[in-house]
């Protein structure tokens, strides 16, 4: 029980940590509250539908079967083939991740052309609207990823034998570590400082000759790519694509709460928030065994709890637990 809890917690921490960092790049660093970030998560998740089809082509198994409608047979035969060929598995994994990140980044770049036309706050709901559309398409269109029912995916770590679950877990943490390093480098670069300048005073940045629109676009594109990665990792971890799981509560509002609690504009704060919140949510979902006497489902309490935390932190501690540090610039003496 405890081991399962720890593994589940760490895996979710890795997934939501990446999402929180991606959202923090846009909200904390740039000042663009992109609550439609789950658009890219869904796009990444739906891209996972590519690799089973590629694998079906490669192994030539089950020519008459369709991946979605004959899902159990296809997955069973693909699992057998993939468990004996580690090279193909790793190749497919890399291809899927790269394709998903490129597609998500492209979508992020494309929609900035509409989003930046709107004034500050209406942007926010417009991006939610766009994301809801992609979610509706994912949930309704059955032939690609099973619609609202979802599909199972073949196991890409089957070649590890009995350690396949552990392999998946270690891969997840490895990717998480790399992403943290990338974000630290990216956010402490001159580009990251330019983003903060834009957040503080966009006309001033323009006066200094910076192309602010282009900078914002690049930042959104980078964050979108990592959001796409989140979708891939989530599907990989649960070995299934269920488009209905990628809703706004879990993949936009919770990460926002994590950032606000941890500290906007700081990487450590975002990670702290992600850790605390993932732990609390996992704990709340375990509570029903102790609180069976309540007349309603405990998962509704989970969402009230989210709202209360958001409210209290934004009212009384808007900078979070680990606020952003302002380092004064070093002035060279002549």
């Amino acid at each position: 029980m405890i081991e399962e809890f720890v593994i589940e917690f760490l895996a979710m921490f890795a997934i939501f940590g990446i999402l929180t960092l991606a959202l923090n790049l846009q909200y904390g660093f740039m000042g663009f509250l992109n609550l439609g970030i789950y658009l890219q998560v869904i796009a990444g998740a739906l891209t996972m539908g590519i690799f089973p089809r590629l694998a079906m082509e490669i192994f030539g198994v089950s020519p008459g079967l369709d991946f979605v409608y004959d899902n159990p047979q296809v997955v069973a035969s693909l699992n057998q083939s993939l468990s004996t060929s580690p090279g193909v598995s790793i190749l497919l994994l890399l291809i899927t991740i790269i394709v998903a990140m490129v597609i998500a980044a492209f979508l992020g770049w494309l929609f900035t052309h509409f989003e930046f036309r709107l004034s500050g706050i209406y942007q926010v709901i417009f991006v939610i609207a766009l994301a809801e559309i992609v979610r509706v398409i994912g949930m309704r269109y059955r032939p690609w990823a099973g619609g609202s029912i979802g599909v199972n995916l073949p196991d890409l770590f089957g070649w590890l034998g009995t350690y396949h679950y552990l392999g998946r877990f270690v891969f997840l943490l490895g990717v998480f570590g790399i992403v943290i390093l990338v974000f630290i480098r990216f956010c402490n670069s001159p580009f990251g400082r330019l983003l903060k300048t834009i957040r503080e005073d966009e006309p001033a940045a323009k006066c200094l000759g910076k192309d602010t629109d282009k900078t914002k676009r690049i930042a959104v594109t980078v964050a979108s790519a990592f959001a796409g990665l989140v979708g891939v990792l989530f599907c990989l971890y649960y070995a299934s694509i269920i488009p209905a799981t990628f809703n706004g509560d879990d993949f936009a509002f919770w990460p926002l709460a994590m950032i606000i609690m941890g500290g906007t504009g700081s990487i450590g704060g975002a990670l702290l928030g992600a850790a605390v919140f993932t732990f609390l949510r996992k704990a709340i979902f375990m509570l029903p065994t102790f609180l069976y006497f309540l007349p309603f489902d405990i998962k509704f309490f989970d969402i009230i709890f989210l709202g209360l935390i958001l409210l209290l932190f934004i009212l009384y501690k808007p900078k979070g637990i680990l606020p952003e540090k302002f380092r004064p610039m070093r002035i060279h003496k002549r």
Binding site: L118, Y122, I125, A129, L130, D297, I314, L315
Partner: protein, 305 residues
């Protein structure tokens, strides 16, 4: 006999115009879109369901749902004022409404579970069109929502243009600090605007449940439709938003019906896409809303004369 899809489109159009009017009124007074608006609509719909299950007419539930809508809106409003006093940024205020939306969503789920437990058939969806009255073969909700939407819009327009309170409200919308120097109690005026839009939300929820299927999950759908209507019509002008909501509701149903005739019934599942696509196109042509363009055309014609 009017076509059933036309009735559906009109009912949705009247309903959305009620909601967009309230939504944009909240935006022009405080400068923040109230994300929790859609959840309040859903809670009002469940109040109507509770009345139906007890055996009363859903129209009677307006006596409860409007005060509930007003009360919930006032809770949000008071918190926003408190946060403004503490010097929160605009994004912080937006996140407060988001937090309230999430809290109210949880509460609406708990409330819905209690209400559904009363019903003989346990489903998470409901529609009350059987409890509606009919006149000349048309559903009563068409008449009621039409009269309510246009009547309230006209009444509110009269209030804005002719009364002292309306002038104060317009002054606050134009420039709040300046209005304050002229002796207008801005907080009171804004509170009246918010109370009005809360009442509109309560009304819209009850009328929505009389024709459309309601579940607690539709608040996001509602929010997106309302936002699209507002953006198309003109966010900063309640009368523009009213027209935008009306056009949006009608066009969503009529376009999807026409498309379903061409392409087959599967397309109806994607009907949420139509408002957003229209919004995208309108944003490219008229970023500040259609009403601005219309007013400019009027001005030009005036100058030529």
């Amino acid at each position: 006999m009017i076509d059933i899809m036309l009735i559906t489109g009109l009912v949705l159009a009247f309903n959305l115009s009620l909601q967009t009017m309230g939504f944009s009124l909240q935006h022009v007074t405080l400068g923040i879109p109230n994300i929790a608006h859609g959840v309040i609509v859903v809670i009002a719909a469940y109040v109507a369901y509770l009345f139906y299950l007890v055996g009363c007419s859903p129209y009677l539930s307006l006596l409860v749902s409007i005060p509930v809508g007003v009360a919930l809106t006032l809770v949000i409003f008071k918190t926003l004022l408190y946060a403004k006093k503490r010097g929160s940024s605009k994004y912080a205020l937006l996140i407060i409404t988001l937090a309230y939306a999430v809290i109210f969503f949880g509460i609406s789920n708990i409330f819905a579970a209690q209400v559904i437990a009363l019903s003989p058939v346990v489903t998470s969806y409901f529609v009350l069109n059987r409890a509606d009255f009919s006149f000349f073969g048309l559903p009563g909700v068409l008449l009621v929502s039409g009269v309510a939407s246009f009547g309230l819009a006209a009444g509110f327009g009269f209030l804005l243009m002719k009364t002292k309170l309306g002038i104060a409200m317009r002054a606050v919308i134009e420039n709040a600090p300046l209005a304050e120097t002229q002796g207008v109690d801005t907080n009171r005026v804004i509170a009246i605007a918010w109370v009005f839009s809360g009442a509109l939300a309560g009304l819209a929820g009850v009328l929505y449940s009389l024709w459309f299927v309601v579940s607690t999950k539709i608040w996001m759908l509602m929010l997106i439709r309302v936002l699209c209507g507002c953006v198309v019509g003109g966010i900063d002008k309640p009368h523009g938003a009213f027209l935008g909501g009306f056009a949006m509701g009608l066009s969503e149903i009529l376009i999807i019906t026409a498309l379903a005739g061409f392409l087959g019934g599967w397309i109806t599942g994607y009907r949420l896409i139509i408002p957003v696509l229209i919004t995208c196109v309108v944003l490219l042509i008229a970023p500040t809303g259609v009403i601005d363009k219309l007013e400019k055309i009027k001005l030009k014609r005036f100058k030529i004369k």
